[in-house]
Amino acid sequence: MCLGIPGQLVTLDGTNPHLAVAEVSGVRRTVNIGLLEDERLQPGDWVLIHVGFAMSKIDEKEAERALAGLRLMGRAYEDELESMKASLEGS
């Protein structure tokens, strides 16, 4: 729950400026980007996602570092991804 997971924005929602589709470790899900309104996010940008909300904008290099670090965490990261996928199934 505390893990920040890097995701890359794929599309912005044309009707709701607070929503975007991000790709996270090969999975696409809608994330809320309302807290980064001032960053003027664009498709292709990387963000750190906590519980479905983008909390900070990061660059690609940082995204790679963070992902490599998360993979080393093993189960904690897998659990987080699993719960994210499970939450998609319900949507």
Binding site: C2, D38, V51, G52, M55, S91
Partner: protein, 375 residues
């Protein structure tokens, strides 16, 4: 130095370790890593055993699952067991023990407990089940609290009347202050939490050097981040400086995320007191919903037992959370208390010091003992 080879980039790790050794000289230093994510990295990579003997890391209270007291888990279970309620929670909280059971046991006993990835999932469940009452078990520091706040704003805007939040959000500054104020404790500085700081920024930590004359360096989550932050703490001490510094500036900004802070202030207010597992009551250390959101506040909507329950006698999570003892020094560690059957919260979350040590750290420690390195 054998563990260094595990790092993706061993060269900077070696040079940082030489720098740390040089800066530490013959003196002893004790630094606290506040955040459970850091504890996880430290145990996962055996960092304690790479450091010179004179530099000791102690674990802090920054694991939100670990600090929820038993009475609050009992309250959560009583909400979950109410007829008609769908109780939603992050997966991390499902196995946290209350005085009689945990949420998984409540679910097995027939309560409708569902684990969710995001508070927005809980809100969606509420809109899909208008004839049921949906309660979200909100936990976490400033990292997750803005998400709960935005979800509540959505719930209010969309008038989702069957949704409420059982709020257990906590704030990071008061426990740091409580630790600094505890008379029996000697610390030379702090590794500041990474993700919490993306929200609150660096300013709230200024009292640590200003009032307590201790340096604080906000750190990232990779082994190299931790080593660099330790070197920065030692450099401050050696140069006679005492400041808040930011090792994780590639993610953390000094001003934090002003929008997240504004949302927090709009939805939440500080509770006068909140009980932390092992640390006792800490003033103004947790959030509750403002009166404007009373209708979404599970504590006002439902009757809760609200009974304070003492931690189990055998469990020493409190000492672990204050950094007074190491996980393996607890009487029940690895015997009565394991990740499969946790007694204390520190053994539940993967960011809890005991679980991280159980899963990773002890192997490093055993290996270090075997090769005659620092144990």
């Amino acid at each position: 130095m054998r563990f260094v080879d595990e790092y993706r980039d061993p060269v900077p790790a070696r040079s940082l370790l030489s720098l740390i050794t040089e800066l530490a000289g013959g003196d002893a230093f004790k630094f606290m890593e506040v955040c459970g994510g850091h504890t996880h990295t430290i145990y996962r990579h055996g960092i304690e055993h790479l450091l010179p003997e004179s530099v000791e890391l102690v674990h802090g209270p920054g694991c939100p699952v670990c600090v929820i007291p038993m009475g609050r888990v009992d309250d959560a279970i009583s909400l979950a067991e109410r007829p008609g309620v769908i109780f939603t929670s992050f997966g991390d909280m499902m196995r946290v023990p209350g005085s009689r059971a945990n949420l998984l046991a409540a679910k097995a006993g027939g309560a409708d407990v569902r684990f969710v990835y995001s508070p927005l999932d809980a809100l969606r469940i509420a809109t899909e089940n208008p004839d049921r009452e949906v309660v979200f078990f909100a936990v976490g520091f400033e990292t997750t609290a803005p998400s709960t706040a935005l979800t509540l704003l959505q719930a209010r805007a969309r008038e989702v009347a069957n949704f409420s939040v059982f709020c257990n959000h906590v704030t990071i500054i008061p426990p740091i202050k409580a630790i600094l104020d505890s008379p029996d404790f000697r610390l030379d500085g702090f590794l500041g939490p990474g993700h919490v700081s993306t929200v609150i920024g660096q300013r709230p930590y200024r009292f640590v050097p200003a009032r307590y004359r201790k340096p604080l360096v906000t750190a990232g989550f990779e082994p190299l981040d931790i080593l660099q932050a330790i070197a920065m703490l030692l450099a401050q001490i050696r140069e006679g400086r005492c400041e808040v510094e930011n090792q994780y500036s590639r993610v953390v900004r000094d001003e934090g995320n002003p929008r997240a802070l504004a949302v927090l202030a709009q939805v939440f207010e500080l509770r006068p007191h909140f009980e932390w597992r092992g640390l006792g009551f800490i003033s103004q250390s947790a959030l509750r919903l403002r009166d404007d959101f009373a209708g979404f506040d599970a504590e006002r909507r439902y009757e809760l037992p609200g009974v304070r329950v003492a931690d189990p006698k055998a469990c020493q999570c409190g000492e672990v959370l204050k950094g007074v003892i190491k996980p393996w020094q607890c009487k029940v560690f690895g015997t009565a208390c394991t990740p499969e059957h946790p007694i204390g919260t520190c053994m539940v979350s993967s960011e809890g010091a005991c679980a991280a040590y159980y899963n990773f750290g002890r192997m490093h420690r055993e290996a270090a003992v075997a090769i005659g390195s620092k144990a």
